[in-house]
Amino acid sequence: MTTKGNPEKRLKVMTVCGVGMGSSLILRTTAEKALKQLGLEVDLEHVDVSSARSIDADVIIGQAMHTEEFEDAAPVVVTISDFTDVEALKGKLKEALEAQGWLT
């Protein structure tokens, strides 16, 4: 995957949760699968919300209670309530990435 205007750069995707150990890791595993199915190779990281504030990412994924505060922190912010639903996440990511022109 390449981003517009910078074809060498891989997308940086961050999954977030309160502690950055459990929920965000479950979500990361689901995001990995979804992104792979979309044909994207990305850099993935799972972090707690407070660390996430100081990290630049292209895509942030988390539950509503966590993504609300990241609305303007990344070009793409995806909110998902079921961290184990690959299909649902894939659909949301596809739509959001296409809107950015990052996926065609």
Partner: protein, 153 residues
């Protein structure tokens, strides 16, 4: 790999609880009995939800309780409890909860393979299988299956 093989795994089936705090206690109790965690870890798991919100409810009906390594974890461990009746965690979309997992990791990395495999199992049909399991032995073998998968990973 070695981490996972030494992990403490426990299962309880159709446990009766009153409220989400009791559900978390029930999920931690077998780990406490196995001396994988300290008493204070259980309280921290509850405080996490009180402080940070019900984000531990990671999917419809499924909670993943945990705190931090420094909160009193002795060994890598994972517990699953199926509830006799579901409880509300206060999650806007994923309530009510009838499957409660609890895990503890002695550091920030030992749990990674175990949880990744738990995630893969949940992406498949682990939740349905747990919900229809009739005996604690069935629940136990489902949770052991996650470790088998890790070994094969």
């Amino acid at each position: 790999m070695a981490d996972v093989e030494g992990a403490v795994l426990t299962a309880r089936s159709r446990v009766e609880v009153d409220g989400w705090q009791e559900a978390i206690r029930a999920s931690c109790q077998p780990l406490l009995e196995a001396e994988a965690i300290e008493e204070r870890y259980v309280e921290r798991c509850i405080e996490m939800v009180e402080d940070e919100g019900p984000y531990v409810v990671v999917a419809p009906g499924i909670a993943l309780a945990h705190a931090r390594p420094e909160d009193g974890v002795k060994r890598l461990c994972l517990s699953v409890v199926t509830l006799a009746a579901p409880v509300e965690f206060g999650h806007s979309e994923n309530d009510p909860v009838d499957l409660v997992f609890a895990f503890g990791s002695p550091d920030s990395t030992q749990h990674v393979s175990l949880l990744r495999n738990l995630a893969r199992a949940l992406q498949a049909d682990l939740a349905d299988k747990l919900r229809t399991a009739n005996t604690v032995e069935e629940v136990e073998s489902l949770i052991q299956g996650i470790v088998q998968d890790v070994k094969e990973d």
